[in-house]
């Protein structure tokens, strides 16, 4: 077990956003945090590396209490890919090199440069090395952000809607990369997602949030029309298409929305 969360509670201006959150994550697993807009998915993700400070509960990272670790120590173990990536007049190599920040003393070492180079090769982005990130497409930029988190050499990767602005090919491409890295390096990934079909395809476990609490939590078996309707308030059907499980809004759902 890499990460375990117990009785996590988070308040925003005395308003309870998250309560009674409990789950654990093993090496080599991808966990999808699912739920409607505004339910606290991103908040939960940010509590997992203490970008936000929870009100109560315990988060253990490889057995260490997260609240006892410094920000730099956490950054050496947890990589974070936010939803929004800022650009600037920076080469892709420099932008990714920034991910070595938690490991860098006064200046970069040969090792830092080698790790960044290896990640560029691994993600097949060598050709982008000296491109400026302010001239890149959304898909390339997202890869840069993920590469930046990977060169942190983390045990856990946190990704906030990693595919939200991407076309279909880039979505599959990015999620495949994450899945491969997680399996190859025996780390774990936690991502918030809206696309249930991509979640079904790439995640091993699912956490459904409703009203700031865990509504349902488990493997593929928790994905059922009943759970999804309860969480999203929309009837769905789940079927197989070309050997792949997919979720689509039920026929009556569309009529229901037209009323």
């Amino acid at each position: 077990m890499i990460l375990s969360v117990d009785e996590l509670r988070f308040l925003y201006r005395n308003h309870e956003v998250l309560a009674d959150i409990a789950f654990s994550i093993n090496e080599g697993e991808i966990v999808a945090i699912l739920g409607p807009n505004g339910v606290g998915k991103t908040t939960l993700l940010k509590c997992l590396n203490r970008i936000l400070t929870p009100e109560g509960g315990a988060i253990l990272l490889e057995g260490d209490d997260l609240s006892r670790l410094g920000m730099m120590e956490i950054a050496r173990k947890v990589g974070y890919v936010p939803q929004r990536v800022e650009t600037g007049r920076l080469t892709a190599f420099d932008a990714v090199l920034l991910g070595r920040r938690p490991h860098i003393g006064w200046d970069v070492t040969e090792k830092d440069l080698k790790v960044v180079d290896a990640v560029f090769r691994r993600l097949q982005m060598d050709h982008l090395r000296l491109s400026y990130i302010d001239e890149m497409s959304g898909g390339e930029l997202q890869k840069i952000a993920i590469a930046r988190a990977i060169v942190q050499e983390p045990k856990v990767l946190l990704l906030d809607e990693p595919t939200s602005n991407l076309d279909l090919k880039n979505q599959v491409n990015i999620l495949s990369i994450i899945a491969q890295i997680v399996r190859e390096h025996h780390i774990a990934a936690v991502m918030t997602m809206h696309d249930l079909n991509q979640a079904l395809r790439f995640a091993d476990r699912f956490i459904f949030l409703k009203g700031g609490r865990v509504f349902s939590h488990g493997g593929h078996d928790v994905i059922s029309p009943g759970v999804i309707e309860e969480v999203y308030g929309l009837p769905v059907v789940i079927g197989e298409l070309g050997g792949v499980r997919c979720v689509v809004p039920a026929g009556e759902a569309c009529g229901l929305l037209n009323d």
Binding site: K46, N49, I51, G70, M71, M72, E73, I74, A75, R76, V78, G79, Y80, V81, P82, R84, V85, E86, G88, R89, L90, T91, F93, D94, A95, L98, G99, R101, P102, I104, E110, L113, K114, V115, V116, D117, A118, V119, R121, R122, R129, L130, Y132, A145, R148, A149, I150, V151, Q152, E153, P154, K155, L158, H185, I187
Partner: protein, 356 residues
């Protein structure tokens, strides 16, 4: 997680070397400009004599007196102030996540001007004389400087206080700075309205930033503060790079964004306050020199901070040199020239876009 198969990419090393060459080239230009600046003025000194005198050879007593007592401190003050304003500007642009960030965004120059106005008008430290070359004199420069400095610090303290209450977000800092600027401007106007001609002239004169006001002791103080601040900003270059990538990315990389922002703001404010208090208001350098450097060596703070320092030193020294020549034997305050000199260069760089 382990990545063992990487190499140090040669093309990247070449790219980095290129940036270093630009900075070293800038330093060389600055050095040449320094020697030239010392040689020209009301009395022309041959370049060879300037170099010999600077190297400690006793060429002539007259040259010694002019160079060591007047021209060298003035030129070095221009460099120190240019470096200080520019480095404070590049830090503020990162801290405030705003390309319009400069040492004066927080209302510091207007606070300093208000402090000087209080000193001149209320405490009576300014008078007017009949000589054209130096028509207006601040007859108690120390008190004026101290008052200007105190009000600069006051402005900083108010913004710090607001940041503590509302959180150190860039928006809060920028807007608080704009509000303070207007407040101090209004305060200065109020005082000016009730002042006599001599006081009014003295206040206006004070606000024209002028590097010739400093002598060795003032220069030493400015240089120490500027050097300390530059070292601080360079030490934080990775944190500023992280903040440039977005607050959340920075926090995910272990950067204490709020603290870096607050401390950086205080350091930048202190540098600006010292420069404003001793030299008056010198605009444009802090805002534009970092952008000139960005156009040439990009946004990576590892090179940008050094590049901005060099650019600031060059612009202010060049402006001061021209200010001493353009209406010789009279000397214009350098603040008049910085925008005249810098704006065309900057507009050219804007039009040309980034260097590929």
């Amino acid at each position: 997680m382990h990545f063992a198969d990487g190499e140090v990419p040669a093309d990247y090393l070449g790219y980095v070397r290129n940036k270093v060459f630009w900075i070293l080239g800038g330093l060389l230009v600055l050095l040449v400009l320094l020697v030239y600046s010392i040689s020209v003025g009301a009395v022309e000194i041959p370049i060879s004599d300037v170099i010999a005198t600077l190297l400690g050879q006793n060429v002539s007593h007259k040259w010694d007196a002019i160079i060591w007592n007047i021209r060298l401190p003035q030129a070095l003050t221009a460099i120190a102030a240019g470096v200080g304003l520019s480095v404070a500007g590049v830090a503020m642009q990162s801290i405030l996540r705003n390309p319009l960030g400069s040492p004066f965004t927080l209302g510091i120059s207007n606070a300093g001007a208000f402090g000087a106005a209080v000193s001149v008008i209320v405490l009576g430290t300014g008078t007017m004389q009949s000589r054209v070359a130096d028509a207006v004199t601040i007859n108690n420069p120390y008190l004026t400087t101290i008052m200007a400095f105190l009000f600069c610090l006051l402005a900083t303290a108010v913004i710090l206080l607001i940041s503590r209450i509302r959180g150190a977000s860039p928006e809060v800092m920028v807007l608080a700075g704009v509000a303070l600027s207007s407040l101090f401007t209004a305060g200065t106007m109020f005082l000016q309205f009730f002042s006599n001609d001599a006081q009014l002239a003295a206040v206006v004169f004070w606000t024209f930033g002028d590097v010739s006001r400093a002598n060795w002791p003032e220069l030493a103080l400015i240089a120490v503060i500027v050097a300390g601040a530059t070292i601080y900003f360079v030490a934080n270059r990775w944190n500023y790079n992280a903040i440039d990538a977005g607050d959340e990315t920075a926090k995910g990389l272990g950067v204490n964004v709020e603290r870096v922002r607050l401390v950086g703001m205080v350091v930048a404010a202190l540098v600006s306050a010292v420069i404003v208090a001793f030299l008056g208001v010198i605009g444009f350098v802090g805002l534009v020199c970092p952008h000139m450097a960005r156009r040439i060596i990009g946004d990576d703070q590892r090179y940008l901070i050094a590049g901005s320092c060099v650019m600031g030193g060059i612009l202010l020294l060049a402006s001061d040199t021209v200010a001493r020549l353009i209406v010789a034997p009279y000397v214009l305050p350098v603040a008049v020239l910085t925008a005249f000199m810098g704006a065309p260069v900057f507009i050219y760089l804007l039009l040309r876009g980034y260097r590929r």
